[in-house]
């Protein structure tokens, strides 16, 4: 390893430069309300929910029989039979069946990455319109047979004679019949995502009170946004739900403070992460309509915002160099540097609330002088995020987090917020999105009011 590799995530090491292309605009979005697992969508499949979300988008923007340039979506928890999930959803929708589609999977960054990939295709002139999306069901999750039974069944499939088959079947033992359900454990560490975050939360000395306050604000802001009708043109009701079922408009800091810690109880440091300041398992889907300026204009559709740029990062979390969910900490300064921007130039910060501790650890790292110098390659701290600009219409702690659907939820909401804001000091209003993901990854993006 050369000395220059010491700090591969530092902002100065980054040499990519933005090039001028035509704009990719966000026309609007649609999602179904997010439901706590085992609730209103318990029996709905990923394809059901993605199609429902897509149908709402088609209805809102009059896309019946329209051949869209490309549709990209994905799910984190995915059945093997859903190898063409997005294409199947398109075929089940009112879009032209001649609309191509592909699936994408990047853990919780899936939704945002579909937006960035399709926006790039529009910017390059490959397509004029696109729908990005994501869906996840923790209720209708795939359950696999045990590894033992799977091997036996595959061997059975290869057997030629009845005698061979009987011999193979006789290998089945009772323990082979226990199913293998998906879990949130990181494959390389065996630690759950919550346990990983508990270590990071403790490392950055994030208090229980600060986490509960962030959770409280998320519920309060989301409830207020619903009250003033902010989501009226962003959500289509589904299965009797009009609002995210995890939202607790009447929750209080006192109530949140009574919850018992659920993560990090055996990890040494004081456990501070509760069911209240961590996102619950959720079902839901979201979609975003993207287009070139010309396509939006000829179709008489609104242009809420443009996708300025995006950046992905990953951290070496396996042996604890960085926290599992800390990759956006490195992606954001690189993206800002590429455009010569600072936090002063950002009007809305949308930092996905995987856990309150994730958001607060991220902010703490950006405010840390030492970290800024040694890890981000800056002259000092990256900067302080103005809390009044943070997740102003609520985020995942209140809305819930159907993994792949979160990116689309944030992009559509932020595009609308930017459009409402219009210009700030003569420049277009700007919003920053930050989404952490399993595997030590993160994807971030900047949108500008159109």
């Amino acid at each position: 390893m050369a000395a220059s590799d010491l700090n591969p995530n530092a902002s100065r090491e980054h040499t990519a430069r933005p090039t001028a292309n035509r704009a990719a605009v966000i026309v609007g979005g649609n999602r179904i309300p997010f439901a706590r697992t085992g609730g209103a969508y318990a029996k709905s499949s990923n394809q059901d929910m993605l199609t429902a979300s897509l149908e709402g988008l088609i209805a809102r923007f009059g896309l019946q029989d329209e051949r869209i340039g490309e549709v990209a979506a994905g799910a984190v928890l995915k059945h093997s039979r859903d190898f063409n999930l997005t294409r199947e959803a398109v075929l089940g929708s009112a879009l032209s069946p001649e609309t191509p589609a592909y699936d994408l999977q990047q853990a919780c960054a899936t939704g945002l990455e579909t937006v960035l990939g399709l926006a790039n295709k529009i910017k390059l002139g490959q397509i004029d319109s696109a729908i990005a999306g994501g869906v996840d069901s923790a209720s209708d999750a795939p359950i696999a047979v045990s590894e033992g039974l799977r091997e036996i069944l595959l061997d059975l499939n290869r057997a030629k004679t009845p005698v061979q088959k009987v011999k193979i079947l006789s290998r089945i033992r009772p323990k082979d019949l226990a199913p293998d359900a998906p879990n949130t454990g990181e494959p390389r560490t065996g630690l759950s995502m919550g346990e990983h975050q508990a270590l990071t939360t403790a490392q950055w000395k994030i208090t229980r009170e600060a986490q509960d306050e962030l959770a409280f604000n998320s519920h309060r802001n989301l409830a207020a946004a619903y009250e003033r009708g902010f989501f009226d043109d962003l959500i289509t009701p589904y299965r009797g739900l009009n609002r995210d079922s995890n939202l607790r408009p009447d929750t209080t800091l006192e109530k949140l403070s009574t919850l018992k810690p659920v993560f990090g109880r055996n990890l040494g440091a004081e456990a501070t992460m509760t069911a209240g300041n961590s996102t619950p398992l959720t079902d839901g889907a979201s979609t975003v309509l993207l287009a070139s300026t010309e396509w939006a204009d000829t179709h008489g559709l609104p242009k809420l915002a443009t996708v300025l740029d995006g950046e992905a990062a990953a951290v070496d979390f396996v042996h604890g160099k960085d926290g599992l969910l800390m990759a956006p900490v490195f992606a954001v300064p690189r993206l800002l540097a590429r455009h010569g921007l600072t936090f002063e130039d950002i009007d809305f910060f949308e930092i996905h609330e995987a856990f309150a501790g994730t958001v607060l650890s991220t902010l703490a790292a950006w405010e840390d002088e030492e970290f800024g110098r040694t890890r981000l390659g800056l002259d000092g701290a990256l900067g302080k995020v103005d809390r009044a600009k943070l997740n102003v219409n609520g985020s995942s702690l209140a809305a819930g987090h159907p993994f792949a659907a979160t990116g689309g939820r944030i992009v559509a909401s932020l595009a609308k917020m930017l459009h409402e804001k219009g210009t700030v000091n003569g420049r277009p209003a700007r919003g920053l999105i930050s989404v952490c993901a399993a595997g030590g990854q993160g994807v971030v993006a900047i949108l500008e009011a159109a």
Partner: protein, 308 residues
């Protein structure tokens, strides 16, 4: 080593037969009251030539310990390959310590050259360094793996075992505790991994390694040998830690482990891997430590470092 009489075995000894034989020897010694102890190790080395890894077994081993199924033999797999030959040395009538109930204290492996699974191997093993331990007598079992075609030394392992309660004439027990033991001052760091080990952990490793020592197989068979339950194989735990260190290690590396409190199954084991950087910022070595996350008792410590 030069004074050792070479004994060439025609094929890999069967571990299950060796365990049965060891049990019979133990019973005979109990009945006849004869402790085998002469204070002398047999001056022989056992060798098997032209050994090949079984690729199906290799894949099962790699998946079990968390290695990618590559064509290179994991260092722990080579240990398992050589183990029957080492066992045959310890199972000799003139071996002074009882084989059953021996405790694996530590293990030191030098993986000098990567071994591709199709390579033909010569495996040699002998015992040395019979010495006193405060709780009995310890011995080093050395195994060397060479290329059958070139004779080049590819892999070398030294396993240190303790025969608890066996004191041999002429072998003094040391006054102070030796080895890396001593868990009194251990305060667990933040874990980088958590392992969930089921009751079948021992049986699963026995299937891929061939090491069917009853203390690993079931609660009943372990109780028959005086343990309160079955315990995980030390080499299974160390091999998982080696897999977790991962691709950062170079082709030639040293791998050490010192075992402390046994892991009674089922268990949750916390592990921390610390990467120690070299002066130039590259990888110097990875240190690992594993413990019980509930009690804080240390199970094992070790290190993986580059071979000079």
């Amino acid at each position: 080593m030069s004074t050792l009489q070479p004994v060439l075995l025609g094929e890999l000894p069967s571990l299950s037969k060796l365990y049965v034989n060891a049990a019979a020897t133990a019973a005979r010694r109990r009945v006849l009251g004869a402790a085998g102890g002469t204070g002398q190790l047999p001056a022989v080395s056992h060798e098997v030539r032209n050994v090949h890894a079984d690729v199906g077994n290799l894949t099962a081993y790699q998946h079990l310990v968390g290695e990618t199924a590559s064509d290179t033999l994991p260092a722990g797999y080579v240990h398992a390959l050589a183990f029957p030959i080492s066992m045959s040395v310890m199972n000799r009538d003139d071996f002074p310590l009882p084989l059953l109930g021996m405790i694996h204290l530590k293990n030191k492996v030098e993986q000098r050259v990567p071994i591709v699974f199709s390579e033909s191997l010569d495996i040699l093993s002998w015992a040395e360094n019979l010495s006193g331990h405060r709780a009995g007598t310890q011995v080093d079992i050395v195994a060397e793996v060479r290329s059958h075609s070139t004779g080049e030394l590819l892999w070398r392992g030294v396993s240190t075992y303790l025969a608890k309660g066996s004191f041999l004439p002429g072998i003094d027990k040391p006054g102070a505790p030796n080895g890396a033991a001593g868990t009194g001052d251990f305060s667990p760091p933040n874990p980088t991994a958590l392992w969930q080990l089921g009751l079948d952990t021992g049986r699963n490793y026995a299937t891929v390694s061939g090491d069917f020592n009853p203390i690993h197989l079931s609660v009943l068979s372990a109780k028959a040998l005086g343990l309160r339950g079955s315990i995980a194989h030390g080499m299974y735990l160390a091999s998982r830690a080696l897999a977790d260190v991962g691709a950062v290690k170079p082709d030639s590396f040293a791998w050490e482990v010192a075992f402390e409190a046994p892991v009674f199954l089922p268990a949750r084991v916390a592990l921390d891997i610390t990467t120690v950087p070299s002066e130039s910022g590259g990888w110097e070595r990875s240190d690992y430590v594993a413990w019980n996350p509930r009690s804080g008792r240390r199970h094992f410590t070790g290190t993986v470092s580059a071979l000079a």
